[in-house]
Symmetry: C2
Subunit: 338 residues, 2 copies
């Protein structure tokens, strides 16, 4: 049975939410879970779940905890026995097939990069996040692993995103778009204009530039951008949705008619919430590393953790990494990059 290493100490609601999610995953998904962190703390949490005793759940002790303010370099040098580091080591040694952390994003990402390393041919692994659209969702990458990118990095993000969507989402011919500020090839900044030129040379189903509004309309299945913009876009989208809720709530206030109206409309609001709920997607894979690493949202609920384990298991069972390696090699030749 394949095992997934879960950083039990990472996330705003850890260890409680992480342990609860891991227990559900072990029950439902048919994989083993290795909970990594301070042994005693994890044991106390596990005691709240009597069913856990008969499930394939192990504990691996790690004496240190990474907090939100630790820089990646501090984590490397001073926290070699942290739950994030130990969980990644389990993948490196082959004991686990994947690692999941909802902790400090920068540290989780940098640790996976450092411990697992990049797949051969991949210049920069990237975080891929599913974002909701009115038609379903699209995969956006990079979401923050690389704040300064070269055109060839965006090219590789496109290839990795296509492979992931093809094999994990069973979409045989995903449309790949480049996030820019106009549809024509001449629109954009220096980075995107050169990336456009490279993407056009590849075997990808490249549909050209897409704008913010195209993204929400579901015009592309994969959207490529540098990690700085990707991260800004993710946070803006989350907060626009949240602000709209806040403004509506304030305007409903104590007004009984509006309150009743809200109650009557509730199924529509719930459908909306399901659609924009990151917990549905579980976590964001760090694509391009030699192994499987899932970066989960800091506010991960038990359900989000369970879904992250599901995604991790799916990737581990698939040939995604092999295809990423092969497709990057082939397309780098097509785009004439040595």
């Amino acid at each position: 049975m394949m095992k997934i290493a879960v950083d039990a100490m990472g996330g705003d609601f850890a260890p409680h939410a992480v342990v609860a999610g891991a227990v559900e995953a072990a029950k439902e998904i048919g994989v083993g879970v290795i909970l990594v962190g301070i042994e005693q703390t994890i044991q106390e949490e596990l005691r709240k779940h009597p069913a856990a005793r008969s499930l394939p759940i192990e504990i691996r002790n790690a004496t240190q905890v990474v907090d939100m303010h630790d820089s990646p370099s501090t984590v490397f040098r001073r926290k070699k026995d942290s739950s994030i580091r130990v969980a990644n080591n389990l993948v490196k040694s082959g004991e686990a097939v994947a690692v999941i952390s909802a902790g400090n994003t920068g540290a989780a990402m940098a640790t996976s990069l450092f411990v697992l390393g990049a797949l051969e041919g991949v210049e920069r692994p990237a975080i891929a996040v599913f974002m909701p659209t009115i038609k379903g969702s699209c995969l956006v990458l990079d979401m923050g692993a690389n704040v300064d990118c070269k055109p060839v990095h965006l090219l590789q993000f496109g290839i990795m995103g296509e492979v992931f969507t093809k094999y994990l989402r069973k979409n045989p011919n995903p449309r790949v778009g480049l996030l820019s500020i106009g549809e024509e090839a001449t629109k954009g900044n220096e980075l995107t204009k050169e990336a456009f030129r490279l993407l056009k040379e590849t075997s990808l189903n490249f549909i050209g530039n897409v704008e913010g509004r195209d993204m929400m309309m579901g015009k592309a299945d994969v959207i490529v951008c540098d990690g700085f913009i990707g991260n800004v876009v993710l946070k803006i989208s989350e907060s626009v949705a949240e602000s709209i809720r806040t403004i509506l709530r304030e305007n409903i206030g104590d007004n009984l008619i509006r309150k009743l109206g809200y109650f009557m409309m509730k199924p529509a609001f719930q459908a909306l919430k399901r659609k924009v709920d990151y917990a549905e997607y579980g976590g964001a894979p760090l694509l391009g590393v030699n192994g499987v690493s899932i970066i989960s949202h800091g506010r991960s609920s038990p359900r989000a953790i369970k879904n992250a384990v599901r995604v991790a298991a799916e990737i581990a069972r698939s040939d995604v990494n092999k295809h990423i390696h092969e497709d990057i090699k082939r397309n780098m030749e097509l785009a004439k990059i040595k």
Copy 2:
């Protein structure tokens, strides 16, 4: 009486919406309006507004029209008698104090830059847009005039944004933030990290990095970013709001209870709509040019055009350009940039 030149041929609903808005402006705001474009077309539109005959409205003929697909360079070379160009010429010659166009954004912006030129000391004029927050609004710049920026450009955007907010919004000490992906000075890309260092040296009330969510929460009054990101952020925000409406509408569907619920909640939705309606803000000033130029939304309604005329008149009556020139000079010295 000061006169405002309005490009009557620019915008998705031109000339109808533009002429209607200009008539309202001439009636309510106490300024003269020069409608620029194909004379006969404008006259036909004006005939629909009998009150216009006694208002301070003039027509200036321009034989060419810029369409959405014209590149700025085509407009320069081949459309020297376009409404956008002629309207800008009126400001250059001093006949009008400001120009407004809801047409091709790139052409409108480039024409103002070319015809009016930059204020002394300003390296790159920038488009400043008010974006709604849960507390009111914040001024974001640049929104697309400069897709590739250097740190000193972001510094100047901060200064221009502060001056505008101080003198036009009567906010004596606006908080200026730098759009980035983390609060600490060490977070961001090469561009923002260096811009952070420069902004700290100035007389601005610089509050450091702000993230997407801070923006919506109203943490800053002025937010600085490069024009590529600014444009992406603007379009994403607009389309997230629109997508939420679409998803809710689909989920209400033909369900009578939900429809009734929507009706009962309608005042709350209307309050939300007012808050996110660009028409309230009228248009986006191109700050840093030697004159006043307002870039209006392509979908401008008559009310949006009227509000754009109001904003143009306010800027023309103020000392904003003088202060931009002085504050940039002073702060370039503080930041030790020669």
